[in-house]
Symmetry: D2
Subunit: 144 residues, 4 copies
């Protein structure tokens, strides 16, 4: 397995600003490893709402997170202003794997890089489902 390395900004196709919070910092004065995943969720779902027409709590088919991971390269701390880069790592018919880069203002390379996989599920039946067309169109747009 190759040793993970920071990702350059050019790797990502869509960016979102994110304000850190006091509670993000742990006892060591750095953003805790957990909150990175809250940041990932926030930018991915924002993309799905703004570009894929996702309506949380109403859509019959939803994406459940089946796997997630993060490599942490250098610490960030509240009150840093962050910029999160988003790209599609792998697009299947029923699932998508996102890649997210966490950047501080000045940095050319990511402080952390995360991945997570959404598997789409029909909420009523609990069964695996095709990615809804409007979301698929947004994902294909992000790939270009």
């Amino acid at each position: 397995m190759p040793h993970p390395t920071p990702a350059p900004r050019e790797r990502f196709s869509q960016f979102y600003d994110l304000t850190t919070r006091w509670a993000d910092n742990d006892i060591y004065g750095h953003a805790n490893n957990v909150v990175y995943y809250a940041w990932f969720d926030s930018v991915v779902n924002r993309f799905l709402i703004e570009h894929g027409g996702m309506q949380p709590g109403r859509d019959p088919v939803v994406g459940y997170v089946v796997a997630s991971s993060c490599d942490y390269f250098s610490p960030v701390s509240y009150p840093d202003e962050l910029r999160l880069g988003l790209r599609i790592d792998r697009l299947g018919s029923k699932s998508v794997t996102w890649e997210i880069g966490v950047f501080t203002a000045a940095a050319a390379e990511s402080c952390a890089t995360g991945r997570f996989t959404h598997a789409f599920v029909d909420r009523a039946t609990g069964r695996s489902a095709q990615i809804p067309p409007k979301i698929r169109a947004a994902l294909e747009g992000l790939q270009r």
Copy 2:
């Protein structure tokens, strides 16, 4: 006790933008009552860092929260972009009570108004302490 009412923007002297997060929403699709306090902490400490020279984890005298409260008037939800207004409610020699208004982009009145009291303490002795001069100057500036 008078019934609490939403506060107008003019009541506040300093404003901060705040991005909501997916995890802010609870099962009802609204920002959970708890996360408002995380927002309050974030804007108050940001003010203290940027204007009062606060260095969390290094300062010998720190403000501990001894009381907090919030009145919720109308729900907000991820992915709303919020603007938080900050003012000093009461300034003592050893404590300060903050008031924070939560505003959505379009709203003239606060969706929620919170208050919390920082009592300053010498970390080494655990004893009550005067507000450090640089922080006091910032607080007096915010009052004007």
Copy 3:
């Protein structure tokens, strides 16, 4: 306004154990003021689920938090094991105000005491609603 004081265990009628989490601690090594409200939510909703038959996400009438407050008397820290006491502070026809005491294992008096008010609302119409009968029965039981 009388100065708030710690509450004795006898004040509360129902108790719940609660495990603290690493992320509860902030940079000062104490549970952050915010997480107390997450604890309050957890024990109140657990009472409503176990005794009032609440089914979050399915019930047509739900309790929204319209006000909350907390007085903090002495710090607690992960990995403390806590015991939370619950009582009804005020029961109306459409709202209930809870009081919650936070106790460490050894303490006779609360480290913090919180209050919050649930106003019941019909989710479909958004209108104020009577407390559902099964929940009311549970609340009256807790009062005795």
Copy 4:
């Protein structure tokens, strides 16, 4: 890469009970993918405090999380009572990789399995450091 599968209880050598919280649930009524990492942090640090003599905020050498991951097999929800299993996945001279299984009361197999790697660092210099002897002894004990 083999498809990840649930882990049996026998795989883990140490167990901790964990109470879920209302705020763990997201809009779909399941514990959000993020909070699993807060649970992992909580049981790993509790082990380090209770068995390895870790004193957060005082120790000169600390473990920073450099990588984390989780596979989610079946949802859990507040107010489930959970049991988390802990084992050592890989023990190096300057780092340790933990594996954590999340179990509901009745389940023979994990609902989720996580991993994270602590790299030990001298806080004063920021340099990579050997695992402190008392922590190493605890880790070797957990391996047996």
